[in-house]
């Protein structure tokens, strides 16, 4: 394995190291799953399809009772990972443990995992009752128990009295809840959800996100949720992993990953980021100063420097909503500042979005909440941008990363 992937090995290693560090930190400090037992252990799993790796030496622990999301653009290997957990694909190398038991090569009907499929895959020739009861019937649960548990679970997914209907008579959102009920009724160790909301319209999707989180909390089953929608992943997950090219690029709680992205890809895929290429000018125990194009310096906490950094080239980043537009440099204090000219100013109701062009043609997006702040520059006006040092992060510049994020998402 190591020699086979020799070329990319160094890169993979650095990412996995970094990922596991973030992982440890989040488990001990901020994660609600701290100290819990790993219910799913993916150990060095790779999956090759005709010599190209869909999943590349992936290692990942998922803890009991958590809502975990795999997030990434199409083709990043998230669905392949889910299918290997479900038993629909066999890993080329590596092991998968479920509740401590090796299930790597176990058939789907022999593992304690259930799936909500992207297309829902409700049986069209059976009514809702028989769809939901399908799993219990395979395990020869008594008739009375089946009836009781089906009506219980339909209650939980808010579809009471739908037993006699056909799947084709239900709306997309209702079908999705039936698919969820059909999987949950078996009380699996792990529930897999394969982009279940992709067929729903935006409003319904938002409702279902809240609903899904409520159901997960109520039943207490471990959820593995696969999606390309970063907002969806952040809204529901206890922890999430961002995948790209079959590799995990960042893992942790939504807040950790959003506030301290570890790679350029994560910074641009998960939310919007302003990234400025620069060189580390000076660095001490607490603060690192980076000189960006145009001679300006930007400071950030030293602990935010990426671990795999070699040389002095970095990209410093700041999220659009962390930046404020200030009237003059006099009251900036210890904040980072940049000077530019407003190109576009858009009113979005809840706020204003500005695109500000710096002297060297770099464009910075600023998002200001609509809370009646007095500085609201119009297009063409000069603006001074300021943000706190602690909201600055840095990533290793990676060739092609930002382009990938745009074209694949």
């Amino acid at each position: 394995m190591r020699t086979f992937w020799g070329v990319r090995q160094g890169y993979i290693q650095s990412v996995t190291n970094r990922a596991s560090e973030v992982d440890t930190a989040s488990r001990d400090i901020s994660s609600p799953t701290g100290g819990r037992r790993a219910i799913v252990q993916i150990q060095g799993v790779s999956k090759l399809f005709e010599d190209s790796a869909a999943v590349n030496n992936l290692s990942l622990d998922i803890y009991e009772g958590e809502f975990f999301s795999l997030l990434g653009p199409s083709g990043c290997g998230k669905t392949t990972t889910l299918r290997m957990l479900g038993g629909f694909e066999e890993p080329t190398t590596g092991r998968i443990l479920l509740g401590g038991k090796d299930v790597t090569y176990l058939a789907p009907y022999h593992r304690d995992v259930n799936t909500v499929f992207q297309s829902y895959a409700l049986f069209p020739h059976l009514n809702i009752f028989e769809n939901v009861a399908f799993g219990l019937r395979r395990r020869h649960v008594s008739k009375d128990d089946v009836a009781r548990r089906v009506s219980e679970i339909l209650e939980i997914v808010d579809l009471p009295g739908f037993e006699k209907r056909r799947a084709s008579q239900l709306s997309g959102g209702q079908q999705q809840r039936v698919a969820l009920a059909r999987a949950l009724i078996n009380e699996p160790t792990l529930l897999l959800l394969d982009e279940p909301m992709s067929a729903l319209d935006a409003k319904l999707r938002h409702q279902m996100q809240i609903e899904l989180k409520r159901i997960q909390t109520q039943v207490g089953i471990t959820f593995l949720y696969v999606t390309h929608d970063q907002e969806e992943a952040m809204t529901m997950s206890d922890r999430l992993a961002v995948m790209r090219h079959g590799v995990i690029e960042g893992i942790g709680s939504p807040k950790d990953i959003y506030d301290s992205p570890t790679t350029e890809f994560v910074a641009t895929f998960l939310g919007a980021s302003n990234l400025l290429a620069g060189e580390v000018a000076s660095s001490d125990a607490t603060t690192t100063v980076v000189r960006v194009a145009g001679g300006t310096t930007v400071s950030l906490p030293t602990e935010r420097l990426p671990k795999g950094l070699d040389g002095t080239s970095v990209k410093v980043g700041v999220r659009p909503e962390k930046i404020s537009i200030v009237p003059s440099t006099s009251d900036v204090g210890a904040r980072n500042t940049l000077r530019g000219r407003v190109l576009v100013s858009t009113f979005t109701g809840v706020g204003n979005q500005y695109i500000v062009e710096l002297a060297n043609d770099t464009r910075i997006t600023v998002y200001a909440q609509n809370i009646g702040s007095d500085v609201a520059p119009r297009s063409g006006e000069e603006a001074i941008l300021a943000w706190p040092v602690e909201h600055t992060f840095a990533v290793v510049p990676m060739e092609g990363a930002s382009r990938d994020a745009e074209s694949e998402s």
Binding site: P108, T115, P124, A183, N186
Partner: protein, 278 residues
């Protein structure tokens, strides 16, 4: 020379009325062309026969139910009818099972798991396209060469042979739109492969399987050419009729024809009503 808007509108309305007439008229003409021989058959199954020889004449000589009363008063006719029914049922069951499995294999597998898939497809096509007379003659050659007694067994073999390809084609069309994730969902919920086939796959492709079976039965029940080669001393219905009509058509043939036609219509209606209910 400019037309007012009202004029244009009047013209278009006229043209639209004409358009509404042409296609329905044409359709009815085609249908009339198709059912004409059947209507003639039904009418003359009620015709009286005055001559000594009991064969149908196409001159109207009075209405009678006589031939319906004497429907089995023709030596061998009933026996050959029941032979055809038995032959149809047996060959349909065998052809449907074989054809369905073949269709699944063709849809689900490709080389390298399924070596020679292209050859199988080619043989299926040839099977449908080959003239029946060629198949019948070569089958007879095979049976004679290997000294296999012609009779019910050889008839079944021949009928399965020419209907299996039709079943495969029909079932395959149904399978083409089959969502494989339904089977994965069944596995996921604990159903083993055989249960999955029984509980999910088969019920969902059943319309295709039934359509294929119906086609196999229809092919079997009115096959003359191949049957004539391989039937030996027994005569399925079409072979019998062909022999009987050499001297003139006995009126009972029209009676059977009428009844079979009505049963067919009834079945088509029933399936239509059932489909609407779904």
């Amino acid at each position: 020379m400019s037309l007012s808007a009202a004029d244009i509108r009047a013209q278009r309305t006229k043209r639209r009325h004409l358009g509404r007439l042409i296609l329905p008229t044409y359709s009815w003409l085609v249908i009339a062309y198709l059912v004409f021989p059947i209507i003639i058959m039904i009418i003359f199954s009620f015709n009286q026969i005055h001559s000594g020889m009991q064969v149908v004449s196409f001159a109207w000589s009075g209405f009678t139910f006589q031939w319906y009363h004497q429907w089995n008063n023709l030596p061998g006719l009933t026996a050959s009818f029941w032979l055809s029914i038995r032959l149809g049922v047996v060959s349909t069951i065998i052809a449907t099972v074989l054809g369905t499995l073949l269709a699944i294999a063709l849809v689900r597998y490709r080389p390298p798991q399924f070596r020679g898939k292209a050859i199988v497809e080619q043989v299926l096509f040839t099977n449908i396209a080959a003239p029946e007379i060629v198949m019948g003659a070569s089958l007879l050659g095979v049976f004679v060469t290997y000294n296999i007694a012609r009779g019910f067994l050889t008839l079944v073999l021949a009928h399965v042979m020419f209907s299996v390809a039709y079943v495969t084609v029909t079932v395959r069309a149904r399978l083409a739109g089959f969502d494989r994730s339904l089977e994965e969902a069944a596995y996921d919920l604990g159903a083993k492969p055989l249960s999955t086939f029984r509980l999910v796959t088969l019920p969902l492709i059943m319309p295709g399987v039934l359509a294929g079976a119906l086609m196999a039965f229809a092919l079997s029940i009115d096959d003359y050419v191949t049957s004539n080669f391989v039937s030996g001393s027994i005569s399925p219905f079409p072979v019998y009729i062909f022999g009987a009509t050499r001297v003139g058509t006995p009126p009972q043939v029209f009676v059977f024809g009428t009844v079979i036609f009505l049963v067919g219509i009834g079945m088509a209606m029933a399936s239509l009503v059932l489909a609407k209910k779904e």
